[in-house]
Amino acid sequence: MQQQPTQAPGAFAFALVLVLASLVLAHQAWSISGFSSLSSAGVFPMLATGTMVVTGLIVLLDAARRRRAENGASFFADVVAPRILLFAAMIIGYMLLLQPLGFILASFLFLFAGMAFLWRGNLLRTLIVSIVAVAAIYVLFRYVFVVVLPRGVIF
């Protein structure tokens, strides 16, 4: 195993979260049918979650050992830098708006906001590109691929 000399900040905390989540899943696996028989519904889930716990612990120990080698940047400047956080928030907002606004309006708003934020071209061009993109996607998928898309109150 060729170890990377540095790791992204927060690796230890993330590994810890993974181990804890694996333990919760392992408990769930055990609660399916316990150790009642070797071919019961819960055996394979226990093997899988057990593997997660063991490998998770190895990753955790390794991350602890290399904690000093983290590449200097802070968690909030690198892993969840403001621009990544903002774009992720836009994605979450988009998915929450799908229900009330419907696909067309929500997608248009998201594309316009997303491109305005990432592309930084002039606003008129961004507006035109997002309108054309939504129209093209809608026509292609609704009428050519005959896919059902979320409908909102208006559309």
């Binding site: 993330f14 899943l25 399916i32 390794d62 992720a88 994605i91 799908l98 996607i137 691929f145 059902v148």
Partner: protein, 500 residues
């Protein structure tokens, strides 16, 4: 003879012909745009085909897969950014060639070699799959269990710098695949008492989350890197060059087929191994490797397209994916009501010959599209990420929602996307997760059938791994993979390398 009719089916039906052509063209462009991978394209595109006829879907998928594996080489050569993981090795010599003003020559040679590799892979598929599926009818459940474990271990060890991270990712995928009602006893597993979870988690949601949204967030980290333009000259390669490299291409293709056919390993690993092999065996390369050697293009590009045909072999004969893309295709086949496995060839041989025919056709389209239209192409490759990333998010939503018109699936997709981002940042490979999702249920039922046939007796269960010749061979291979990952073995091979 009947098979021949199905082989030519896509060639004679205009709509199937068009599907294959569109798939190939889409695959090339998607593969070429950095940030759009074949796996992402396959996962989003396949979700739209669920309402289609299965033949249309198979034709499109064959095109996308072959085109996408090739397309990655374009941006590797022109921008030094591999458009797909299978083109990582291509950039090593492709970009230096472009810098010397030989971008056209490099693209042309790559195209021809990819097509040769593709044909070798398809030939291997056509010859080997019927034999293997006959043989596979003899497989016991424990053999399936062994093959699935081998696949997961291979992808876990090769896809990441850390074995533990690879295996963790695969085990996590298995757990996702097991969520819901147990098909044998109807007990709920990992449902947290929620009734809605009894139906399981849509694998499309997991797939698009990990390969679509997670990738978009990950690319945000490098969004402002500028790219460098290259001039492209004549594309048709000189015949003497093609002739000279045919032997190397065939050799690399063989490596590609074998690696592709191993469960879990695909074009990305095949191309790296073929590159390494060429580097060690070619005595007088056109230029030193890494400075623009033609050999450095021929080897990985033949191998990764040959791996496509190879990866179809375990998928169609055993129902075990050869790589992440075939894992997605397996899921699609299930949704179309087909059951990939040894019986697929017995019950629906036409489907097999049809698939081979589509791949063959897609390979011809690859040659045509690969040697034309480079101007529009370079414009598209330079499309700003600021436009592409939001579009991928919208397409991910459409793809996830299309499968069962469920917003819950979209929320799952989002959750997997965010989790996938962190996994990627901290060096966990995501391909084993998808392999785990697909293989999880198969491993679970194989394990339980094997255990039931051993009457829940642990010692009898393990003895059977050593009594059947096939199980013994698989067990030994599995032990070899595990041992080769231990520090002891590695130290010895490192010492041997230092000596040599």
């Amino acid at each position: 003879m009947e098979g021949l009719g199905y082989f030519f089916m896509a060639w004679l039906d205009p709509s199937l012909l068009a599907m294959t052509a569109i798939g190939t063209l889409a695959g090339i462009y998607i593969g070429a745009i950095p940030g759009l991978s074949v796996t992402m394209a396959a996962s989003i595109l396949i979700s739209f085909t669920f309402t289609w006829d299965v033949n249309d879907a198979l034709a499109l998928i064959a095109g996308v897969y072959l085109g996408g594996v090739y397309g990655g080489s374009r941006s590797a050569i022109l921008l030094n950014i591999p458009g797909a993981p299978s083109a990582v090795a291509t950039a090593l010599d492709g970009y230096p060639l472009a810098q010397r003003g030989e971008a056209g020559q490099a693209i042309g040679l790559t195209t021809v070699m990819s097509v040769i590799g593709g044909f070798v892979g398809i030939l291997a598929l056509a010859l080997a799959a019927p034999l293997i599926s006959q043989f596979a009818l003899l497989f016991a459940p424990r053999d399936y269990l062994l093959i699935a474990i081998i696949g997961i271990l291979l992808v876990g060890t090769l896809a990441s710098s850390s074995l533990a991270k690879g295996i963790f990712a695969a085990a996590f995928g298995v757990v996702i695949g097991l969520v819901g009602m147990d098909p044998m006893t109807a007990e709920g597993r990992f449902t947290f008492g929620q009734f809605q979870m009894m139906g399981g988690i849509s694998y499309v949601a997991a797939m698009i989350g990990f390969f679509g949204v997670a990738e978009v967030l990950f690319q945000m980290r490098t969004i402002h890197l500028p790219s460098v333009k290259q001039k492209v000259g004549r594309l048709i390669p000189e015949w003497r060059l093609v002739k000279k490299y045919i032997p190397l291409s065939l050799r690399s293709s063989t490596i590609g087929v074998v690696i592709g056919a191993l469960p879990g390993t695909g074009g990305d690993i095949a191309s790296l191994i073929a590159y390494d092999q060429a580097k060690r065996t070619v005595k007088n390369p056109s230029r030193p490797f890494g400075e623009g050697a033609y050999e450095g293009l021929v080897a990985p590009e033949s191998a990764n397209n040959a791996a496509v045909g190879g990866a179809y072999v375990p998928m169609l004969t055993l129902g075990i994916p050869g790589d992440a893309v075939t894992a997605i295709i397996i899921g699609a086949l299930y949704i179309h009501g087909l059951k990939p496995g040894p019986l697929l060839m017995v019950e629906t041989p036409h489907l097999f010959w049809f698939t081979v025919g589509c791949l063959f056709l897609a390979n011809i389209f690859l040659l045509i599209f690969g040697l034309t239209g480079v101007r529009i192409f370079s414009k598209l490759v330079e499309a700003p990420k600021g436009v592409i990333l939001p579009l991928i998010v919208v397409l991910s939503v459409v793809g996830t929602y299309a499968v069962q018109n469920s917003l819950t699936d979209v929320y799952w997709m989002l959750a997997f996307g965010i989790l996938g981002y962190f996994l990627k940042v901290y060096g966990f490979p995501v391909a084993p997760v998808i392999l785990g999702v697909i293989l999880g249920p198969l491993m679970d039922t194989s394990y339980r059938r094997a255990m039931i046939s051993a009457r829940d007796d642990l010692s009898r269960f393990f003895t059977e791994f050593f009594t059947s010749p096939l199980s013994l061979a698989l067990t030994l291979f599995l032990i070899f993979i595990i041992v080769s990952q231990t520090p002891l073995f590695k130290r010895r091979s490192k010492a041997a390398e230092a000596d040599g």
